[in-house]
Amino acid sequence: MIDKRVPSLSAAIEGIKDGAVILIGGFGASGIPVELIDALIDHNARNLTVVTNNAGSGHTDIAKLLASGNVSKIVCSYPRSAGSVVFEELYAAGKIELELVPQGTLSERMRAAGAGIGGFFTTTGAGTRLAEGKETRVIDGKEYVFEKPLKGDVALIKADSADRWGNLTFRFAARNFAPTMAMAADLTIVQARQIVELGEIPPEHVMTPGIFVDRVVEVPAPVHAGQPS
């Protein structure tokens, strides 16, 4: 029997090791798995690399994780935004390493990891600082940059509905990075607003098939990122 449901947030987070690469879904405040992040903070694994689009805002969720001192590196496209004070202080103090990746390349690199692609050529970033040191190639007269897969040890994902096989749906644009990150991690952990019976999600409407999901925990009234929890 396949049952990916776990009874608690701490059980969901169990086993994450020091030094792990953690992919965290969300764009802006939409789709951020706040409760899983809080559980990760409590879990207290150290020296983490976090891959996520933004570097948090205010003092909750991702910003709170950074403030915990357990994140040594962040891989993202847009760390600097209104309220990204925690990140900016850590960065200014040299306490966090930043790998800046164009947003589409960030997503495509994770897809490559999940899809067994060893690397790909993209025009994004060609001729810019972010291509420095990278292999380039002219294809049909245009310059391309070679980008490598970006794999996670763990992905933290916020879903709307889930079933015991790990099939997922997402609310509107809370989908963003989630389906790609779910593919790209060895251990994909999901918080879902509701866990439904097998078959309740119509097969054609499954947004992330359960094969990409390892653990599902129900969080019936999730806090929206950036709001007080």
Binding site: G125, P179, T180
Partner: protein, 222 residues
């Protein structure tokens, strides 16, 4: 007659008139987003957002905001009938694959060869942030740069070569400023329109790259 530079709203108004019917358009933050307000009402334009939306509608009414329906600037928006939702990787496949007809991007600098700089001043004190700018610059079928013609202290932002780090090389097709509408052509920068009362020499004086005045140039109408 003294030159009458366009207001920020007027730049947006001028750009809005050029967004073609039926286009798939991605809007950068700020001026570009403003331009969408001025597209003639008889045109149907489909707006794309990097976070996986096609068919963005106007801002929601008060109390109708849905925090899971936001644009790339993280503002709440609405979905038009016909909208679709997809994941980030597909959203950027649309961009990189040339399916977005037009990206309207704010710019810090544009070079005569179409080089775009809009993500970094190169100041190492601040952490850099790029978002989807490089993807849009490199991928959109057409790129229009929107900006003030000069910096606040009067330095030109249209240059022979950008001094700021590039976002994408040779991608800008058209520049809209508070003083002019300029096409980036294989033969150089071609001024199509100038603000009322502006002399070409004055415009050239505020520009760090050689301009040519189109024979059929006009005064910008907003």
């Amino acid at each position: 007659m003294t030159a009458k530079p366009l207001s920020r709203d007027d730049i947006a108004r001028r750009v809005g008139k050029d967004i073609p019917d039926g286009a798939y358009v991605n809007l950068g933050i700020g001026l570009p987003t403003l331009a969408a307000n001025y597209v003639p009402s008889d045109r149907e334009v489909i707006y794309h957002s990097e976070n996986g939306i096609l068919g963005l509608g106007p801002s929601p009414g008060k109390g109708e905001e849905d925090l899971d329906i936001i644009n790339a600037g993280k503002q709440t928006v609405t979905l038009l009938p016909g909208a679709s939702i997809f994941h980030h990787t597909d959203a950027f496949a649309m961009i990189r694959g040339g399916h977005i007809d037009l990206a309207l991007l704010g710019a810090m600098q544009v070079a005569a060869n179409g080089d775009l700089a809009n993500w970094s001043t190169g100041d190492e004190k601040f952490p850099p942030a790029v978002g989807g700018a490089m993807d849009l610059g490199a991928g959109a079928a057409s790129v229009w740069a929107l900006m003030e013609h000069t910096t606040k202290d009067g330095q030109p932002k249209i240059l022979e070569r950008c001094t700021y780090p590039l976002t994408a090389a040779g991608v800008v097709d058209r520049i809209y400023t508070n003083l002019a509408v300029i096409d980036v052509t294989p033969d150089g920068l071609m001024v199509r329109e100038m603000a009322a009362g502006l002399e070409f020499d004055e415009l050239q004086g505020k520009t760090g790259a050689k301009l040519q005045l189109a024979n059929d140039w006009r005064v910008i109408e907003v």
